[in-house]
Symmetry: C2
Subunit: 581 residues, 2 copies
């Protein structure tokens, strides 16, 4: 490991040291520090602050001379101080800071910039409204929390690269973001070209390119890939996001899973404690059965329990009638301390309707068990939600359910390869994407009972959030053609380049994509991915600082052969800072 070389860094900068470097060892040395003024006291004592989050106290030899320099300064002004390091007066040490034993006896001050009066103090910024933080993002980022988040993100990605490139010989390949529209890619931004009627598309992932790179013999590809998804205003989604994109040749599911475990273990921030590998693995069936969801939060138990056998000869009417139905069952969640701490157990707000639809009943009066009645498997997600709501409810009443410092990774495997389309149940669609290979033991079912086929797909779940997904791909052209044409009823000509490539010596291959923004947000404990992205968009897709997107003149659009179709007045909506332009 190469250390941050203070000597080399010094040569490149006006400063001789960073604020965080100075300790009692430097007493007597003449130094120059640069930073932002945090506090100015009447006796010209100044506290200096810098990117590495260390504060530093300054005193002045000749207060009268320097007072004139400091007179106009405001908090957050930028200065350079030259002076001598000295021990702080006895009793004034600050033991909480590594630099707290020393201070600078300043000889000269150079003022680089005087700060205007800010709309808020930096330290209060994180408490302010989201839109204010976004409008003044350059100030928001100066807060210690955002500095920590962005620096941890940078270090994490560096460690990941070291692991992939240096340990495992992966090749970092950049793939285009101006590409062709994916069949059915309804969430893809379009980019008009200078050829009339033709548009590029900003891809949701480099899926096709990574597979083509395997055909190209790259063997091990990775990329911190910028991806784009136009989802309108879904909360906590961003129109552009970053994924750790990985693909390997001559590999099976176990190989990819082992690689990812090694990757996370190697790059995991030391201060968050080590993580254990291998991660727990669970089939999709087990996840749905035990947790009612395909991304279980395994930091706590409270699994769904099947009590059907207990009630086989029950006299309770609605339970008996449920059990007489096809796939009918009685499910329960055991809520430890539920009866004591959350009695009467309320129906969580906003969920009454769903629960009635599911014909589900909660009993917590006399025991800590909440039996619930499901008519079919499809109701399980509702029970999964109830489980999570129970945890939240208990936590809100002071019961410790989930360890906030725990990181529980989980692989979910053996997903169904196809699902029935909601609007057209006879027709199948890919559960993930059309390139996923079937489990070897299910491959023959493709041609007979495709709805029963399980795919070689794997999801990585962390604390109940899906942070990654991948699969072993189909590497056989005729199998891929069959899936596209006969099962999914899609036009295979749109993917003819991929089919041709598979027919040109494609190796067996597979890969994964990790949602990097989400992963970082969980690691730093941020409530939103916006807290780990330097310049995120608002939930309406706007950059509130610059007011993007913005109007473009019809003249400028001419070279792209498009024109704006203005909506009628009633259709128009406008709100927020950037809508009044």
């Amino acid at each position: 490991e190469l250390p941050l070389s203070a000597a080399r860094a010094r040569l490149l900068s006006f400063r001789s040291h960073t604020c965080g470097e100075l300790t009692a060892h430097h007493v007597g040395e003449r130094v120059s520090l640069c930073g932002w003024v945090q506090y100015l006291s009447k006796n010209s004592k100044v506290v200096l602050f810098e990117f590495n989050l260390f504060f530093f106290s300054l005193c002045f030899k000749s207060a009268s001379h320097l007072k004139s320099v400091l007179f106009d300064l405001t908090v957050e002004s930028v200065i350079k101080v030259t002076g001598t390091v000295r021990q702080r007066p006895a009793g004034q040490e600050n033991k909480r800071m590594p630099t707290g034993e020393v201070e600078i006896l300043a000889e000269s001050v150079e003022v680089f910039n005087v700060c205007r009066t800010l709309p808020f103090e930096i330290k209060d910024f994180v408490k302010k409204s989201e839109s204010l933080r976004m409008q003044y993002r350059y100030l928001d980022l100066r807060s210690s929390q955002m500095q920590k988040n962005l620096r941890l993100r940078s270090q994490l990605v560096m460690k990941m690269r070291e692991y992939l490139c240096n340990v495992h010989g992966f090749v970092d390949v950049e793939t285009p973001t101006l590409f062709k529209r994916t069949p059915g890619g309804a969430k893809e931004f379009v980019v008009p070209s200078r050829e009339p009627g033709r548009f590029y598309s900003l891809p949701q992932s480099p899926q096709q390119f990574k597979q083509l790179l395997m055909v190209a013999g790259i063997d091990r590809y990775f990329q911190m890939a910028r991806c784009y998804r136009d989802e309108g205003s879904r909360p906590d989604r961003q129109p552009e996001f970053t994924q750790v994109d990985i693909e390997m040749s001559f590999v099976d599911q176990a190989g990819i899973m082992s690689l990812v475990e090694g990757l996370l273990q190697y790059s995991w921030p030391a201060e968050k404690g080590p993580i254990k590998v291998p991660f727990q693995t669970m089939t999709y069936e087990e996840a749905m059965r035990d947790y009612g969801v395909d991304k279980p939060d395994t930091r706590f138990s409270m699994k769904l329990m099947d009590l059907s056998e207990v009630f086989l000869s029950t006299e309770i009417n609605f339970l008996r009638s449920a059990l007489s139905q096809p796939e009918g069952s009685v499910q329960a969640i055991r809520v430890p301390s539920g009866a004591v701490r959350a009695n009467p157990f309320p129906v969580p707000p906003g969920h009454t309707k769903h629960m009635l639809q599911a014909r589900m009943y909660l009993y917590v009066n006399s025991s800590s068990v909440s039996p619930s009645y499901c008519t079919s498997r499809s109701q399980r997600p509702l029970l999964g939600n109830v489980r999570l709501l129970c945890a939240e409810l208990l936590e809100s009443r002071g019961v410790s359910v989930r360890d906030p410092s725990a990181f529980r990774f989980l692989w979910v495997v053996d997903f169904p390869l196809f699902l029935s389309k909601e609007e057209e149940p006879e027709q199948l669609e890919s559960a993930h994407h059309p390139f996923t290979a079937a489990l070897p033991e299910d491959t023959q079912l493709l041609y007979t009972e495709p709805h029963k086929v399980r795919g070689q797909h794997y999801d990585l779940v962390l604390n109940g959030c899906e942070i990654g997904g991948g699969s072993i791909r189909i590497h056989n052209a005729s199998e891929q053609l069959y899936v596209l044409k006969n099962i999914l009823k899609e036009d295979p000509s749109l993917l003819s380049h991929l089919l041709e490539a598979l027919d040109s010596g494609a190796p067996p291959h597979g890969g994964i994509a990790l949602g990097f923004d989400r992963l970082v947000s969980i690691i730093v404990g941020a409530p939103s991915i916006r807290d780990v992205i330097a310049f995120p968009k608002s939930f309406r897709g706007q950059d509130l600082m610059s007011c993007a997107p913005d109007f473009v003149s019809e003249e400028e659009l001419k070279s792209y052969h498009i024109s704006v179709k203005w909506p009628t007045e009633d259709e128009q909506t406008a709100s927020g800072r950037c809508s009044s332009l």
Copy 2:
């Protein structure tokens, strides 16, 4: 440094070793190799090829059994071979390959994929037409040259990251590519949003964001930044490209230059020989005077020489008349071996017109000096071109002028800050961009004679190509406002967020951007940046493999409130593979 651990890599893959790993040390070991069949002889001898460019010979224990397996195989089919390593028979060793002493006595073969008959053999691909290579890019990339290029690129970027993150504490920050249109950003792609009439823009560089990050206290930022430029069909430009984007606080020009020198020295591929730092530095004035260009190729001399004094009392009419004009001068290029090797020295094809316009004359009959007559400084670029053409001409006749293995870096500094607009000479425009600070000694001229101001801009030149440019930025809001409003006559409200940021405690800062694709292409000696980009666009901006850009239905455009304005029939143009859709 972490080595590529064969043991760990093995666990993740079907292979026990890569083809390039096996040497005489492995004789007797049982191994599994995966790869592409390169050659199949009648006695079932197979040559296997793999990503790391090593070939491997296979022999078969039981030829009769394996013959049936191999019967259907074509070249470029993908197989796995399991067998035992053995010494090659005496006389059959291949000393040119590390693996040439051994072969595999194969026991079993698994066929993963049979390759169709390819349009060309892989090894011939690089000789084929550009459009064919692009259409079958996944095959083109299988060639050893493209494999080397992409792998070197990946290693180079990894070393750069190590230097910036691990040695100098830079923070890797991702900035948005969906942003606001830059004032005058005529080359920016637009991306329609769901808000009527509003468009994002794909930025040409993260210039504003990197400056905002300095205001945000990030101190040292870098990013391998994807940038976008819509230049229609300029040769050897790509609509998306990658730059090494760097910005630092509390730094001066010398600091940035020293950082970049260290960066290139640290990351330079060992096989290309070491590079010396510091790089040569030259002012813009010197470059124009001596080389007639602001990006001189310093691998050879042949500088422009001012012979005005020699001809002060000349009787030659046209020279006398030239010298009598304001800024008139007589310039010459001394072409070593020019008279001998290129006699008569021809006017290079296609340049006759330019040279007549410049009223330039070449004499090479009696000496090796080519005097040329310039009416003013503005003719110097023509002389600079002649210098390069002379070099090309000599090289085409077998004279060694430029060492093809030499890498000559050069800093060009002290550029003019503003230039007169061509169409409106009274009006100034930024020579680079409006954020560049003046040289400290020229700052006062901003308010009096702005056309005389030199900027703190620096270009990095390698072998006559500009591979980077940067500057110390204006960090004072009122100076920035003055430049935008009073000198450039631009509407400052479009940059109000940046002006506000500068007023909020902006540190002094500066940076640079290196054109990464161009840098890699020079290092590997590729004729085009398309040879170092995995999936480049054609010169018309098309992806010839997938036929992007493509048509999008009017229905799909509805949510973006745009419609296509189809040109009339005469305006339409169509050609090439992807235009017939």
